[in-house]
Structures are given as structure tokens and as C-alpha cells.
């Protein structure tokens, strides 16, 4: 693991969580796994920051939660997007794309 891990900012974590849940309900552990896998282990998701983020999103009304059972018969709390959550995902995604474009433009102009 010689490559540097990229640190995640809070706002970005929210976006990633929402994105992951687009594909269906998932429990906290699973969400963390998904993000890690999809970034080829580059994105560090501390479990310690994941759960507060999940609860915060739940409090803000973007996620709803429900106790369920995993494939391994483990009891876990499953999170899913609410309608507001879906809208939030769309808006955050477009904001992110704009952010990337703008920063990129600034960086390119320096070349």
C-alpha cells in the first residue's frame, strides 16, 4: 500500500453515501465496504466518521433506516434513500461536477 490514501472531506462523504445507496438499501458496514471497493482502496473511510454521517443524514431527512438481517443472518440497521435524499444526490452531484470543472480550469490556466 505505497500509494497515498486520499483524505475525505465531510461534504464529500455525504455525497458518496448517497451515491452508494442509490443502488438499494445497505447497512453501515456495507456502505463503507462499497466506497472502499469502488475507489480501489484509495479513499479512506473511517468507520468512525461514517456512522455520525449516516445519522446526520438521517436527521436531516435524506435517509431512512430500518432494522433487518444480512445474508449472514446478522442483525443490522439498513439505510435507504428518501425522496429528499434522491433529490439531494442529484443536486450534490451536479455541484461536485461544477466544482471539479472550475478547479480544473483554474489549474489549467496556470500551465
Amino acid at each position: 500500500m505505497g500509494e497515498e490514501k486520499l483524505e475525505i472531506l465531510q461534504g464529500t462523504l455525504d455525497l458518496l453515501i448517497l451515491q452508494v445507496l442509490q443502488w438499494g438499501p445497505q447497512h453501515g458496514h456495507g456502505i463503507g465496504q462499497s466506497i472502499r471497493m469502488r475507489s480501489d482502496e484509495l479513499l479512506q473511510v473511517e468507520s468512525g466518521s461514517l456512522y455520525p454521517a449516516l445519522h446526520r443524514l438521517g436527521r436531516d431527512g435524506y435517509l431512512r433506516s430500518e432494522w433487518g438481517v444480512t445474508e449472514n443472518n446478522q442483525r443490522a440497521k439498513f439505510y435507504s434513500l428518501t425522496k429528499a435524499g434522491k433529490q439531494r444526490l442529484v443536486s450534490e452531484e451536479s455541484k461536485w461536477k461544477l466544482f471539479v470543472r472550475t478547479v480544473g480550469r483554474v489549474l489549467r490556466s496556470q500551465e
Partner: protein, 873 residues
């Protein structure tokens, strides 16, 4: 309330358990995943634990997420505040006590103010009741009572009122029969007065018009009298009681709480008016009370009544022209009732608010100081990311237990205070039966507490906003805590407020001293006074009644130790009554001169100490059938006759068409201030009782030594002459004079108390601020002392700083006073608001107190041990 709270707590706990379970499930899944790599279960679970990190911290974080309800944070701040208070019991006690004191005082004062001045009269639609005054400004009577003749004409001609009733308030009755003879204050009322007011007796009935017209011996008894004298026996209605020896039938009992015109009146009798009084348009002794018709406004009624009065004046010009142009003044009955109390109460309220302001400022200073001592803690929290608003809310929330204790304690204390205060109110204060705690007062107390909370909590909270973290963290001895400037301003404000209060009180005290020094024209010591009403049933003829009074005086004279005894119909300082114009035969061009008319026995002048200037006093040889003679005072004699001898000239009473008999001046006596030490309104004229008999008799007895010792003997002497004679209002002359000044004395005393309390608080604040500042400069002082400065130099530095504050406070206070104290000019006697004595003594007094307050920290600074101070941080 508590139930909701409990359920809230339970829910939060359930959420926390849920989160714990969620994290546990995460651990289980992670451990299972780890195990797939082939390590032991135990290692797997510890690896999972390591991966997750601080479990408790996570739970807290999750708990925090759901916590963002203001209620919960507030509850935590509240508990914290409570802990803080418990940690510093002395400080807490001082602050809470100060606030309780301020709130209790203000609430009690407002309760008085409201009960007496703002509360509506206890009559149905009491705001529609008005008093009808006649105004005849040209003749020197800006306000006059109504004559029966005017009343009759008003009733016939008006369209504004549903009814006009009249009442003659000053009737004194000897109540005889069962038990001791007792003087009862009664009022004569017209048949329609009670209906106009809108009250009925709760037992029995009101007078009929017929009963009033023929002066029937009937009476309505007040609730208090019924309870006290007749044992609340309902059978008293219909039976007879003895009023001035006239058997009178009781026809009704008034309900409890009915106190008209004031609570001193316990009996009401029909106002029988002789036809001659109507014809002569005399006897302006009645108060006219009317009820406005529903749609009529006061202004409309006023203009109608003015027009009516003009018509009456022109229709009866021959009788009324002497009064000059007359008009009507309508006044709401509430205003009439409370006029006298208005000014003292307003001033009282202002002073109390001033004291409350000082108490709040003081608490603000103390709180600010405490917040200052927690600077580092707050700066640290701020550096760690706490929002300034969050800090402000927290500091604010910490104030709440303080303010709550003050609010509750203050409201309870105010109830007690009110009860105590009511007992000490001057007897003649109006509407004292209405004093109590009412809903508006409770709301006021609540509003006051909230305002106090805001005022007191705002300061440290504001400081928290303007915090500069670096400076606070460093806390060098030179660093000035963010609130210091504001604190100094607060102390200056307190000192200024105390100055105003003390100056006001100083002026009142000086006025009081001036009044006490005034020589009223008669002797103020070694005299006993008491009052009697002569029963005209027992002594029906004037000559008989006068002879009775003479016999009484003779018996009293015979008591060993009595130097002189005499009777007049009114004592000095008994209010303005029995006044009217007189004219002199040889000086008719001067016109009628307003004088006090008095009837007296010969011994009166010696007993009360009025000197004889010329001629002779009244003597026993002046009888009903001898030359009509009288005395005038020297002021009147000088005015009318100059240096010439007034004796031998004749005068008579002259009011409009009414003329008394020509009376010869046989002597000139000293002038007295009849209305009070503060005013010199009119000269006096005296006639012998044998020639002008008056039912009311004030006995004055000059004694050797303490007059109180003679009370028993005098009463016994009177009883021997007439066992039915009730005696009332017994006082030594000194007590009588003090009674006259009662309200003033009370106000001056109260204001003195407030001023001193405010000063004490201000000095406390000054001490706290100065001590804090000195403590901050300990290092500097240590260095200076080490470098050779004397303790005195260091002490004077501290005192100098305090001195600046005191000076600023004094100057501000003096400036404020020039504006505010103008308001009490009408209460001052013999001085102006710029009285030098007060303006000099108060600042000195204040500076001295402040000096003492600043001395302690100054002395402590002087004793700074350089080595220790340099060691300390």
C-alpha cells in the same frame, strides 16, 4: 410537564441503545469478515474493535447528531449554571439576594401603584362615574363643592347623566346604646346616590325620596361597623340604634368592601336639606357624583354642563354674582378619589425603579466579573471550535437558575412586603382597602423578572461574542478583560443613580426639617387634644349646648396639673373647612376677605398658646344675648386697619346675599397657619361658642409635663359631665402635628432607605471592580514595590482609579438630577432643587462611602509582597 420531560429522556435513551446495538452489529460483521481471512475469533473481534476506533466516542457523536434541540442544550446549561452557583455560595447568595430585593420592592411598589391608582373603582362601570365640581376662579375657589340648589338645577336641566347624587361626607355621630359610646363617621347621602353608584345594601333597602325629604331617622350601616359593633346580627335591620341620642332605625347593611367616600365612613343617613338652603343657594358642602349616560362622552357632558352653569349663574345673578364667572369641571371619580396619593406614589415608583436598576447593574457587574474569571476556559473552548453564539447561549442559560430563584423569591417576598407596607401607610391614604395582589401585578412581576434576566444575562453573553482568543489565552497581567470597560461604565451608572436618589431624598429631608422648624403660631408642646360631637338631641338649644361645653371645660380645668383648657370647632391643620368671606363696616371698599371662621370658648387661646395682641380675649360674659363680639388675628387687622386699633370696628360674614350679624372686634390675637406649616392661606376670625354654636368641638388642654398622662383624668371629667359623650381622635399636639406631616415623613424615610441601599449596592460593585483590577495588576505592584515604591503610593494608585469612577458617577448623577429633581419641586418647602446644603452634603457622603469601599483593595495592594507577586503567574 415533567411527564413530557421523562418521556423525552426515555426516548433519547432508547436511541442511544439503538446506536449501541448498531455499532455492535457493525463489529460483528467486521469480525466475521476478518475471520474469513483465517485468524482466530478473538483476534478478529479485537481487529474489528481497532478498526472501528473509540466506541464510546462514536456513540457520543451519534448522540450529538440527534441532540440539536435547543431544549436539551438549555437543560444542560441550566444544570451547569446550578453547579456553578453551588460552587460559590457567598457570591451566589449576594447576587440572588440583591435581585430578590430589587424585584420584591418593585413588584410591591407596583402593586400599591396599581391597587390605588390604576385599578378601576369597585362600582359597575365605574369609569362612567364623574364628580361635578363648580369652578369660580375669580373668587379664589378654583374648585368648589356643590350647593343643594345647584344640584337641583343640574338634575332638572341635564341630559348627560342617568342620575346625579350628592353626599355630605363630614358627619360625626355619637353611637350610643350598647357598650361604650363611640364616634362613627357617617355621610349624608341623597336617595339616588347609591343607585347612581350602582350598589345596593346586601341586607335591607335604600332610602326612599320621602324619607330624605322629611329627615326621617333612618340609617344604613356599613359592613365593618355591623360586624364590629353588632356582631353581624341580621336582626339589627329594622331595630333602632342611638345616633347623637336620636333613636334611628337601621334599614340596610352595605356589603363588605363598600367604602364610600373612604373606608373611614361606616354609616349613611339621609341628606335632609332645608328649603331655606335651597332658596339662599348656600351650603357648598356637598360632593356631587353623576353617572354618564351610555353613549355620552365626558367632553360632551362637560360642554353641556358648562352651558347649564352659565344659564344658572345668569338666572340667579343677584345671589351668585359675587362669585364671579362660574364653570363646571367634570372629573372621573377615580381621579377624585386618588388625587392626593398620586404624586407620592409616582415618586415612590420612580425611586424603586431606580433601585432596581442599580440592583440589575450590580448583578451585571458581578456576573461579568465571574465570566471574566472564566476567560481562559471560554477562550479554550472557542479555540477548539465552539461557535460564539453557542457560548453566548450557554452563558445566558447559566443565568437562568439565578434569575429563576430571583423571580420566585422576589414575587413571594413582594407579597410579604406588601402586607407590611399596607400596615404602615398613612391612615388617610385613599383606597387602601383595595390593596392586594392582582393578576396585572403578577404579570408585571413576571415581565419584570424576564427583563431583569435579559438585562443581567446580556452583558457576559455579549462579552463572549467579542472575545479575542489569543489575548485571553495568554492572560498577561496587562491584558484587559473584554468586559472591563463596560463594567466600569456600569459602576459609574450605579453611582450616578445612587446620587440622584440621595439628592432627591436630601431635598425631601431638608424640606421636612424646614417644615418642622416653622412656628405655626400656636404652642406645639404640652397640649392634649381630643374631639367630641355635641348631641343636639340632648342639648337642643344653642344656649344649652354652649353651656354644656362650658361645663366640660370647667371640669377639665379643675384637674390638677391642667394649666388651661378650651374648645374650638376646628383645630389648626384640620384641613380647610369653615372658611368664608367677611367684610368690615368701615372698610367695605376692600371687599369681602376670605377667612377661617372659628367658634371658641374663652380658655381656648390660652390652652393652645395663641397670644393676645390687643384688646381682650373672649370671656364668659359674652353670652347669646349680649353684644355680638369676636376676635380677628393680627394679620387681618394689619391688612384692614394698618397701624390703627382694630378694636371697636365691626365686621360681618358676607357671602353673596347671605350676611351674618354685625359683630364688634373686641380683641386682636396672633395669626396661625391654619392649613399646615407649609402654607399660609388665610387669616382667622373667632366668635364665641355662645354666639355661634358649632356641633363639632375640639378640646385643647394645656398641661404640666407629659400631656399623655392626663388622658384618663380628662376623659373621666368628660364622662362625669355626660356619660354618653364619645371622644375620638385623641392626640397630643405634637402627635397631631406629626400626623399632619405623616406622608412626607414616610416618603423621606423610604427614599432615604432606597438611596442608602442603592449606595450600598454601588459600593459593592465599585469594590468588586476595583479589587478585580488591583488583582490583575498584582505583578506590576510587586515590581514597583521591589523597585522602591512605598505601599502608600501603590494604595493611592488604586484609590485614584476608584476616584475616577466615583467622580464620573457623581458628575453624571448631578447632571441627571438637574433634570429629574425638577419633578419634585412641588414637594419642596423653603428650598429649590438647587439647595446648596443638599448639593454639598450628598456628594461628600457618597464619596466617603465609596472611599471606604475602595480602601480594602487599596490597602491590600499596598501590602503586596514583591517576591510572592512575581512568583505568581
Amino acid at each position: 410537564m415533567f411527564d413530557l420531560f421523562k418521556r423525552w429522556r426515555q426516548r433519547r435513551r432508547a436511541e442511544d441503545d439503538d446506536a449501541a446495538e448498531e455499532l455492535a452489529s457493525h463489529l460483528a460483521i467486521e469480525a466475521a469478515g476478518q475471520k474469513e481471512r483465517g485468524i482466530t475469533a478473538k483476534e478478529a473481534s479485537s481487529a474489528a474493535r481497532r478498526d472501528l476506533g473509540n466506541l464510546t466516542g462514536l456513540r457520543e457523536q451519534i448522540y450529538e447528531q440527534w441532540r440539536w434541540t435547543p431544549l436539551e442544550t438549555f437543560a444542560a446549561d441550566f444544570r451547569f449554571g446550578l453547579r456553578l452557583l453551588r460552587k460559590t455560595p457567598v457570591w451566589s447568595t449576594i447576587v440572588v439576594t440583591t435581585l430578590i430585593f430589587g424585584i420584591a420592592l418593585t413588584t410591591a411598589a407596583f402593586s400599591l401603584f396599581y391597587s390605588l391608582l390604576l385599578q378601576p373603582l369597585p362600582y359597575p362601570e365605574g369609569d362612567r362615574l364623574v364628580t361635578i365640581w363648580t369652578a369660580a376662579p375669580k373668587s379664589g375657589y378654583p374648585r368648589m363643592n356643590a350647593t343643594p340648589a345647584n344640584w337641583r338645577d343640574w338634575q332638572e336641566q341635564n341630559r348627560s347623566f342617568t342620575g346625579i347624587g350628592i353626599v355630605k361626607p363630614s358627619m360625626n355621630y355619637n353611637l350610643t346604646g350598647v357598650g361604650e359610646p363611640e364616634r362613627v363617621r357617617g355621610a349624608k347621602i341623597s336617595a339616588n346616590l347609591l343607585p347612581v353608584l350602582g350598589v345596593r345594601p346586601f341586607l335591607g333597602r335604600i332610602f326612599t325620596a320621602g324619607e330624605v325629604d322629611r329627615d326621617a331617622p333612618v340609617a344604613i350601616v356599613g359592613h365593618g361597623l355591623w360586624r364590629r359593633r353588632f356582631g353581624s346580627d341580621p336582626k339589627i335591620v329594622g331595630s333602632k340604634i342611638g345616633l347623637n341620642n336620636r333613636p334611628t332605625e337601621v334599614i340596610g347593611i352595605m356589603p363588605d368592601g363598600f367604602a364610600f367616600p373612604t373606608r373611614e365612613f361606616e354609616l349613611w343617613t339621609p341628606a335632609y336639606i332645608e328649603p331655606e338652603t335651597f332658596r339662599a343657594r348656600m351650603d357648598a358642602d356637598y360632593q356631587a357624583i353623576a353617572r354618564l349616560k351610555p353613549e355620552w362622552t365626558l367632553a360632551r357632558a362637560q360642554s353641556e354642563m358648562s352651558a347649564i352653569m352659565r344659564r344658572i349663574a345668569s338666572d340667579n345673578a343677584d345671589q351668585l354674582a359675587w362669585l364671579g364667572p362660574q364653570d363646571i369641571a367634570l372629573e372621573p371619580l377615580l381621579t377624585t378619589t386618588v388625587t392626593e396619593a398620586r404624586r407620592p406614589l409616582t415618586i415612590l415608583m420612580a425611586a424603586v425603579f431606580g433601585l432596581l436598576a442599580v440592583a440589575c447593574l450590580n448583578t451585571g457587574v458581578l456576573l461579568s466579573l465571574r465570566a471574566g474569571s472564566r476567560e481562559r476556559e471560554i477562550a479554550l473552548r472557542s479555540a477548539l471550535g465552539a461557535q460564539p453564539s453557542r457560548l453566548a447561549y450557554q452563558l445566558f442559560g447559566e443565568i437562568v437558575p439565578l434569575a429563576l430563584a430571583a423571580a420566585v423569591g422576589g414575587t413571594l417576598a413582594s407579597v410579604v412586603l406588601l402586607r407590611v407596607a399596607t400596615a404602615y401607610l398613612p391612615v388617610n391614604f385613599p383606597r387602601t382597602e383595595a390593596i392586594g395582589v392582582h393578576w396585572p401585578v403578577l404579570f408585571f412581576a413576571l415581565g419584570l423578572s424576564i427583563t431583569v434576566l435579559l438585562a443581567v444575562g446580556l452583558l457576559p453573553a455579549l462579552n463572549a461574542f467579542r472575545r479575542n482568543e489569543n489575548e485571553a489565552l495568554m492572560q498577561s497581567s496587562r491584558s484587559v478583560a473584554g468586559g472591563a470597560g463596560t463594567r466600569r461604565a456600569l459602576v459609574v451608572a450605579q453611582l450616578a443613580m445612587s446620587t440622584v436618589l440621595l439628592l432627591g431624598d436630601g431635598l425631601l429631608l431638608h424640606s421636612l426639617a424646614n417644615l418642622l422648624r416653622v412656628h405655626p403660631g400656636f404652642a406645639t408642646e404640652h397640649a392634649l387634644t381630643m374631639h367630641m360631637i355635641v348631641s343636639r338631641v340632648k342639648y337642643s338649644g344653642d344656649a344649652e349646648a354652649a353651656a354644656y361645653l362650658e361645663r366640660v371645660v370647667r371640669r377639665v380645668d379643675e384637674i390638677p396639673g391642667v394649666l388651661a383648657a378650651g374648645i374650638a370647632n376646628r383645630l389648626p391643620f384640620a384641613g380647610t373647612a369653615q372658611t368664608g368671606p367677611i367684610e368690615f363696616e368701615d372698610r367695605l371698599e376692600l371687599g369681602p376677605i376670605d377667612t377661617d371662621w372659628r367658634s371658641a370658648t374663652p380658655g381656648y387661646f390660652r390652652s393652645i398658646g395663641i397670644p393676645l395682641r390687643r384688646g381682650r380675649l373672649l370671656s364668659a360674659s359674652d353670652r347669646g344675648n349680649t353684644l355680638r363680639c369676636g376676635l380677628i388675628d393680627d394679620q387681618l387687622a394689619a391688612r384692614v386697619f394698618g397701624r390703627a386699633d382694630a378694636t371697636g370696628h365691626r365686621f360681618r360674614m358676607a357671602a353673596g346675599k347671605f350676611h351674618g350679624p354685625w359683630t364688634t372686634v373686641v380683641g386682636v390675637v396672633g395669626h396661625i397657619r391654619n392649613d399646615g406649616p407649609g402654607s399660609d392661606a388665610r387669616p382667622q376670625m373667632y366668635l364665641p361658642e355662645t354666639q355661634r354654636m358649632q356641633d363639632r368641638a375640639a378640646l385643647v388642654v394645656r398641661t404640666v409635663g407629659d400631656p399623655a398622662k392626663f388622658l384618663g383624668a380628662v376623659k373621666e371629667a368628660i364622662r362625669k359631665e355626660n356619660s354618653d359623650q364619645a371622644v375620638y381622635d385623641v392626640r397630643s399636639m405634637r402627635q397631631w402635628l406629626d400626623y399632619n406631616l405623616e406622608t412626607r415623613t414616610l416618603m423621606a424615610t423610604l427614599l432615604a432607605g432606597f438611596g442608602v441601599a442603592a449606595l450600598a449596592l454601588a459600593c459593592l460593585g465599585l469594590y468588586a471592580v476595583v479589587a478585580d483590577r488591583a488583582r490583575q495588576r498584582t505583578r506590576e505592584f510587586g515590581i514597583r514595590i521591589a523597585l522602591g515604591a512605598t505601599g502608600a503610593r501603590v494604595a493611592s494608585t488604586v484609590l485614584g482609579e476608584a476616584g475616577v469612577l466615583v467622580l464620573a458617577g457623581l458628575v453624571t448623577g448631578l447632571l441627571l438630577s438637574t433634570v429629574l429633581l425638577r419633578l419634585i419641586t412641588s414637594l419642596l418647602f423653603g428650598i429649590t432643587p438647587n439647595d446648596q446644603v443638599t448639593l454639598l452634603s450628598v456628594p461628600v457622603f457618597l464619596a466617603a462611602a465609596a472611599f471606604v469601599a475602595a480602601l480594602v483593595p487599596a490597602l491590600r495592594a499596598a501590602k503586596t509582597d514583591p517576591a510572592e507577586s512575581l512568583r505568581a503567574e
